[in-house]
């Protein structure tokens, strides 16, 4: 299996992948904060959401190790997002169509 390699030595060192990913997440966080103060008019929301989606993708792929996993596991992970989408879709259907 293409699993994660465990370090041979006794001294524990954080994996570079995780550290890089973490730095990436922090950068994106900084970007979110900065951009939220920019007057982009109606673009603020989609921009924030796009960055959030990228963050979620990074967490799923790297911290949750989905990039090393087989189809079934990814299908289950996708199902989780799909279910969340249902909640938002049908839930918003009420909020957005109230009179």
């Amino acid at each position: 299996m293409s699993g994660i390699r465990r370090p041979k030595s006794r001294i524990w060192r954080p994996s570079t992948d995780l550290v890089l990913c973490w730095i990436g997440l922090l950068t994106l966080l900084g970007l979110t904060v900065t951009l939220s103060y920019q007057p982009l008019a109606s673009f603020n929301f989609p921009v924030a959401m796009t960055i959030a989606a990228i963050k979620a993708g990074l967490v799923a792929a790297i911290f949750m190790e989905l990039r090393h996993r087989s189809g079934v596991v990814c299908a289950f992970a996708a199902a989780g997002f799909f279910w969340l989408a249902i909640l938002l879709w049908l839930g918003l259907m009420d909020f957005l169509t109230r009179v």
Binding site: F76, G80, L87, L90, M93, D94, T97, V99
Partner: protein
């Protein structure tokens, strides 16, 4: 007899409380659930006692609120949701698929401890004075006004939810990974398919309940504005989140029962299940479509009309896979060699009662009718036909069917048939009048009612006392059979399925040799003859 089995493997008490054997954990769950069933049942008894007369004579209005809340919370989260999955499922799943245990035996034990912890916390809330919000915990009452132990009870439910998630996870991985050689997906007994679908719901829906309960507690304890419009919340958000979990949860409370009934009908009609693949996929279809309909609980809540229309339409769609199952069971019975043993009586009762419950669900899914029937006894009758008439009946059916496997003893057949018939009779006498009461407009959740409703209420309370006796009977004769019942052979019913290929009760690791599967499921044309008639 001298051979060791999972029961005689180690007699010490500590070996039970530290066991990782799925069979023993099933029995731990079973014992725990009996306790909760009695507590929930005691509340129901008091409710029916109060409703025997129109006036307020047994309890006060406030106590009555606490009684039906306690009844609902206990029966839903501490009895019905874990009922078949955690007892029969825990015991039978590894046996049915030819495995030595579930994939994560220690997680299984952890799930039982979490369940007990959650149960104790909820019981603490109840004995401190209880909760008066109804099991649905609607805001703003639960967050702003209720002076009862909402936060404590919610903590208990929250913890029990994790036990559900762990069980679901365990079943999913087990069914994917631990099937015996040759046991392909389409050779799996349908009980496994339904438990798989149930587990998917447990894993996907329960976290939403957990989050909702946390939000509820945050608002109640710290005034964080989530549901209260004065501080920026939306009161309907609670209902959306709650029913996003709780409508799928009602399928957690029926799918395992459907699974048991598949096994029973095939065995006692001695036929292959008609349309196996349709029945198998119908379970997953129910699990998936069940997530699209929650808004049918909110037709009168102020939800937008567009949303109501869509949810109403979707609710009709969920009925399709349920109907597929009912038709396929009837088709299986057609030209079968039917034997009316006790488990079969329960299975037949299930099919009829589930159908009534499901069809009245469709009535309620019609917008116009629901505006009239919502919050009346019609709704109460609807869901009790499914949850009690369906699921509890299936639970008893499965318990009798697998009793010889679990305990190694035969139960007394004629007593069991008598109890099954009495349960059917008592159940209908209790709940059929509630359809009529609801249609006549009697609201739910009041401790007094208009005098013209009394006749049906007296019938219902009378039925409830018969039902109570009928539910107690198995305690006695099953208890008796534990000590005096005949020894069970490995396969008393001449059933197919791997669980019948090992001794009764099974050895600690289930099978002396790894079983290999070479035939289709429910191959009753080639099954051994029943040994016990």
């Amino acid at each position: 007899m001298t051979e060791k089995n999972y029961l005689t493997d180690d007699y010490r008490l500590v070996s039970w409380f530290t066991t990782t054997d799925h069979k023993r954990i099933a029995i731990l769950y079973f014992a725990t659930l009996i306790v909760f069933f009695f507590i929930g049942g005691a509340a129901a008894t008091l409710i029916r006692l109060e409703l025997a007369t129109p006036g307020p004579d047994v309890v006060s209005a406030d106590t009555y609120n606490r009684l039906f809340t306690m009844h609902g919370i206990i029966m839903v989260w501490f009895f019905l949701i874990p009922s078949i999955p955690n007892t029969l499922g825990n015991f039978i799943v590894p046996l049915m698929i030819g495995a030595r245990d579930l994939a994560f035996p220690r997680l299984n034990l952890a799930s039982w401890y979490l369940f007990v912890l959650g149960g104790c916390i909820t019981l603490y809330a109840i004995f401190m004075g209880g909760v008066d919000t109804g099991w649905t915990l609607y805001t703003p009452f639960s967050t702003l006004y209720s002076n009862s132990y909402v936060s404590v009870a919610v903590t208990g439910i929250f913890i029990a939810g994790f036990s559900s998630i762990l069980t679901g996870l365990n079943f999913i991985v087990t069914i994917h990974k631990l099937r015996a050689p040759g046991l392909t997906w389409y050779r799996l007994p349908l009980f496994i398919w339904t438990l798989y679908a149930t587990s998917v719901i447990l894993v996907l829906a329960t976290p939403v309940l957990a989050i909702t309960l946390v939000l509820l507690a945050m608002e109640r304890l710290f005034g964080v504005g989530i549901f209260d419009p004065r501080i920026g919340g939306d009161p309907l958000l609670f209902q959306h989140l709650f029913w996003f979990y709780s409508h799928p949860a009602v399928y957690i409370m029926i799918l395992p029962g459907m699974g048991v009934v598949n096994e029973l009908i095939a065995c006692y009609a001695r036929k292959k299940i008609f349309g196996y693949k349709f029945v198998a996929w119908a379970s997953l279809a129910i699990a998936a479509a069940g997530f699209l309909v929650w808004g049918h609980h909110m037709f009168v809540s102020g939800q937008s009309l567009t949303a109501s229309l869509v949810f109403s339409f979707m609710s009709f769609i969920v009925a399709v896979p349920s109907a597929i199952k009912v038709f396929n069971w009837t088709a299986t019975l057609h030209k079968g060699t039917i034997r009316f043993d006790a488990p079969m009586l329960y299975a037949l009762a299930f099919v009829g009662l589930f159908t009534i419950g499901g069809l009245t669900g469709l009535f309620l899914a019609c917008l116009a009718f629901d505006v009239y029937a919502t919050d009346t006894y019609f709704v109460i009758a609807h869901f009790h036909y499914i949850m009690v008439g369906g699921m509890v009946t299936a639970y008893f059916g499965g318990l009798h069917y697998w009793w010889p496997k679990i305990t190694g003893r035969m139960y007394p057949e004629y007593w069991a048939r008598g109890a099954a018939i009495l349960i059917f009779f008592g159940f209908n006498l209790t709940f059929f009048p509630q359809f009529i009461l609801g249609a006549e407009g009697m609201p739910r959740r009041y401790h007094v009612y208009a005098p013209e409703f009394q006749v049906w209420n007296v019938l219902s309370s009378g039925g409830a006392s018969i039902l109570a006796v009928a539910y107690l009977l198995p305690m006695f004769y099953l208890g008796f059979s534990l000590f005096f019942g005949a020894r069970a052979p490995a396969n008393p019913w001449g059933a197919t399925g791997l669980e019948w290929r090992t001794s009764s009760p099974p050895p600690r690791l289930n099978f002396d040799q790894q079983p290999v599967v070479t035939e289709d499921p429910y191959d009753y044309a080639h099954a051994p003859e029943p040994q016990h008639v």
